[in-house]
């Protein structure tokens, strides 16, 4: 039967683009989430938009579950296929179709790698701000489907703020166009808005139209060191209250600082209780002003030390320390569970305090870093998934982390998506009504439930 299936898809995408061996099936059974893999029947790699549309249509006709896979870096199990389903690879759909300098937009196929796109845009003197930590490998399709954000989210927003329009295939393989190349467009329903964050459950993206902006002319980075957690988060609030929106405002706890320092020898103060990494950007004069003001605020609220980067080299050093955070933590134990519970900025001290208690209660090692400016924290649990007793405690701890985040008025996910990993918590955040609404929407658009079933709202 699976032979027959391969043949059917080979007719659409060509022989070399159907991957059905045992080895290949195992290779498309997992993603970056710490969840059990599930074997698809095969993976297919369309090389043209037409083939992509036909693949979707065929899956629907056969009632085969379909999971689109960009680079499989999502941390929520969004690309773990359904058992026996089809994985659609977007790797060969990787053309940047247009970068329009005059009108400041770009059109891309969904398999384009984020960092490559950002670099092409930069070459033309423009700027595409969303910069997820995975940008060196993540795809634009994955970014849109997860509504990915990055270090610059605070000031520049996240992927959804850049999607002007797109075309996608519905389950029948019909091409649906939404949005436009114009800044203003109210033609028809805002379907591209619906697609952002849909995690492959409502349609299969074909081309995406993205807004570009002028790059900032200048920037300045600094590191503020605190001996008290409360003071660090008060500083965050004070900076925002002073009506300064830094491009980035990152936080690192003491465990993370020590681990990063052991690993990267970046010159971080290992006796600090918390660190803030701050960068302001914009017009040179404004940058000077704001940097000075930020420095003054840090001092006033109680930073023990402030290091302002004097040049590009020092600036890079600051950011290298931040970029090394996950790497450094990941080396401590075999399994790394990276969460992204997010709370209103003012609740960061409460969240951080709760995380400390949770670590203690479940006897776990948790390092926390993240985007303080937008309240998006990455409590990172260091464990070994082979130790079943410990991993059970990890799961309980995760439950509690989300309970706390929600009780503080926060959200389940700041940027990694819901996928399979967090679908069970959804009802706690949005309530039964929303879930039913989403399910009815999906049932109408995807009556056979073939588009990435089981994700977001669960089965």
């Amino acid at each position: 039967m699976s032979n027959h299936l391969s043949q059917k898809f080979e007719e659409i995408v060509g022989t070399g683009n159907v991957l059905a061996s045992e080895v290949d099936r195992h290779n498309y059974a997992y993603d970056a989430a710490v969840l059990p893999p599930q074997l698809p029947a095969l993976a297919v790699r369309p090389e043209t938009p037409e083939a992509l549309g036909r693949v979707v249509k065929t899956c629907n006709e056969l009632g085969l579950p379909l999971t689109v896979r960009g680079s499989g870096t999502n941390l929520s199990g969004g690309t773990i296929p359904s058992e026996g389903g089809v994985v659609v690879l977007t790797g060969a759909l990787n053309k940047i179709i247009e970068i329009n300098e005059a009108d400041m937009y770009a059109v891309v196929q969904t398999g384009v790698v984020t960092a490559k796109f950002a670099a092409e845009v930069a070459k033309r003197g423009l700027f595409y701000p969303p910069d997820p930590g995975s940008q060196a490998v993540s795809t634009m399709g994955g970014n849109v489907a997860e509504n990915a954000g990055g270090l610059r989210g605070l000031k520049y927003g996240v992927t959804k703020d850049y999607v002007m329009g797109m075309s996608f295939y519905d389950v029948d393989g019909e091409l649906v166009k939404t949005g436009s190349r114009t800044v203003k467009c109210v033609t028809g329903m805002n379907l591209h808005g619906l697609m952002v964050g849909s995690e492959g459950t409502l349609g299969v993206f074909n081309e995406i139209i993205l807004k570009l902006v002028p790059p900032p002319k200048a920037s300045k980075a600094m590191m503020a060191i605190f001996d008290d957690l409360g003071k660090a988060s008060e500083t965050v609030a004070a900076i925002i209250a002073a009506k300064i929106v830094p491009a980035t405002l990152e936080y690192m706890d003491d465990f993370t600082i020590k681990t990063v320092e052991d690993f990267a020898h970046a010159g971080l103060p290992t006796d600090a209780k918390a660190l803030l990494l701050i960068e302001v950007d914009g017009h040179p004069a404004q940058v000077e002003d704001e940097a000075a003001e930020v420095e003054a605020i840090c001092k006033r609220v109680g930073a023990t030390r402030i290091q302002v980067a004097k040049d590009a080299v020092e600036r890079n050093k600051v950011w290298e320390a931040r970029r090394a955070a996950l790497s450094a933590l990941a080396r401590v134990r075999p399994t790394t569970v990276l969460e992204d519970a997010t709370v209103p900025r003012s609740k960061i001290p409460a969240m951080v305090g709760a995380l400390e208690k949770i670590a203690e209660k479940y006897k776990l090692t948790i390092g926390t870093f993240g985007h303080a400016g937008d309240g998006n924290l990455h409590p990172t649990i260091l464990t070994d998934k082979r130790d079943h007793a410990e991993f059970t405690r990890v799961e309980a701890a995760i439950d509690e982390i989300f309970d706390v985040a929600l009780s503080l008025g926060g959200t389940l996910s700041g940027e990694h998506g819901i996928g399979m990993a967090k679908s069970k918590y959804m009802v706690k955040e949005v309530g039964q009504g929303s879930i039913m609404y989403a399910k009815r929407l999906k049932a109408a658009l995807d009556p056979k439930n073939i588009l990435n079933p089981g994700k977001i709202t669960g089965a």
């Binding site: 045992e22 997992y30 870096t73």
Partner: protein
């Protein structure tokens, strides 16, 4: 079936290394094979996942896993870029050894590794004869040596444009020597490596000339054996261990300060792989291996760091020659050495270094990879060639003779007329007597 169980048992030995992979996928950004094929099975994450499946016995197809594992340049880019610190190369070498144990070595490789490599004298003789009859014995020679690292006869395979075997190998033009420390106060043991010996003796001569000039004593025995990497990357641990032992016999007891090689691959093999794979050797050998591997150094690093060579005071007339430098993976990614070869080139004022795009991206050689996957290897090599040519350089320099072969092949097939040089050759040109 019991063999399968044994394989599973062996794989369990590397379980700790396997679970360290958090499947983040960041290795996709740097893997040259993945850049070409885009297949998950061709990137470190995919291979590691398959090995885990094999160890957990949820996959029944070791041949399929082996095939994916073999489609790898062993360039170490994934490891150098892995946030989780996964020791991908250790995993790949060990897994290849296990799988080869399971499947056995193909007869051709068996003949080469066990018959020739393990017997350096015979190896030299066969190649000596072959160099005189290269044109005549195309077919048998190809079959016999097609898969060796030295890839000595690769010029005869599949439309390749490789440098032919040297008329006279290094061990014929330069006699064995054991000269005392001169004014530098330093003495090296010179491990020239198979490819330099048999195809690029001029590099070996340049090393000797530089050492003589700077008063560096040289211990250069001819009984040295291959570093073992071709055998090991084919999974032949037995031959590898024999070769290490042969080299130990020659070098372990001798008096010298640094073991110098002009081959990035030999350097990183001796530095990293020898101690890694020496676990099963007798305790004394293990100890010796550690001592020796601590002493090994790339020739550029030795000249810049230890000898302290500085820009030569030679007359420059006319335009300088433009040279671009390719970072061999085995030097930069494995050992972090990239400044020294450039500094050495910079010591010759007749040359001007022009950096290429992606100087440290793999050239696609990867030992016997190029033999099994010539098409892929060529696609990767073609990018390298384009980047080299885009600099407008007249000379392409690199610190690994295997890269020199690959780059030479690519340039030659494209009809380019660049010269390919080792940094030490470029430096040697500044010395008197030229």
């Amino acid at each position: 079936m019991s063999e399968m169980r044994q394989l599973v048992g062996l794989l369990k030995q590397i379980d700790d290394q396997l679970v360290a992979c958090m499947r983040c996928g960041m290795c996709q950004a740097v893997c040259p094979i993945y850049a070409e094929t885009g297949l998950e099975g061709h990137v470190a994450r995919g291979k590691i996942a398959l090995l885990e499946c094999l160890a957990d016995e949820v996959i029944k197809d070791p041949a399929g896993v082996k095939e994916r594992l073999d489609a790898c340049l062993l360039c170490g880019s994934c490891q150098a870029n892995c946030p989780s610190g996964v020791k991908a190369l250790d995993i790949f070498f060990k897994a290849r050894a296990f799988l080869t144990g399971y499947y056995g070595l193909p007869p051709v490789k068996r003949a080469i590794f066990r018959g020739l490599l393990q017997n350096p004298k015979l190896f030299d003789t066969v190649l000596g004869v072959a160099s005189k009859f290269q044109g005549l014995f195309t077919k048998p020679v190809n079959d016999m040596l097609g898969s060796s690292c030295a890839r000595v006869f690769s010029d005869l395979i599949g439309g390749r444009h490789f440098a032919p075997l040297a008329d006279k190998p290094l061990h014929d033009v330069a006699t064995q020597r054991d000269t005392p420390r001169g004014h530098s106060g330093l003495k090296i043991a010179f491990f020239y490596g198979c490819v330099v010996d048999k195809m690029f003796p001029r590099i070996g001569e340049a090393v000797l000339k530089v050492c003589d000039h700077h008063g560096v004593g040289v211990f250069m025995p001819h009984a040295q054996a291959c570093c073992g990497i071709p055998a090991l990357s084919s999974g032949d641990r037995e031959t590898f261990e024999k070769l290490v032992a042969l080299n130990m016999k020659v070098f372990a007891e001798s008096d010298f300060d640094v073991l110098v090689t002009p081959c990035a691959t030999c350097t990183s093999t001796i530095k990293k792989i020898w101690p890694l794979m020496a676990e099963d050797l007798p305790a004394t050998t293990r100890y010796q291996v550690k001592e020796l591997s601590a002493k090994v150094k790339d020739v550029s690093a030795f000249l810049i760091q230890d000898v302290g060579v500085t820009p030569a005071d030679v007359a420059v007339s006319g335009e300088p020659v433009t040279v671009t430098y390719h970072d061999p993976c085995h030097l930069k990614k494995s050992l972090g050495i990239s400044a020294e070869p450039r500094a050495l080139i910079g010591c010759n004022p007749r040359y001007k270094l022009q950096e290429m795009e992606g100087a440290d991206s793999c050239c696609g050689s990867g030992g016997s990879f190029t033999l099994q996957h010539y098409d892929l290897s060529k696609r990767i090599g073609k990018r390298k060639r384009d980047n080299i040519v885009a600099t407008g350089a007249a000379v392409a320099a690199t610190s690994c003779p295997a890269c020199m072969l690959q780059i030479g092949d690519m340039l030659s097939q494209a009809g380019d007329t660049l010269a390919i040089r080792h940094p030490v050759e470029i430096y040697a040109e500044t010395l008197a007597g030229r």
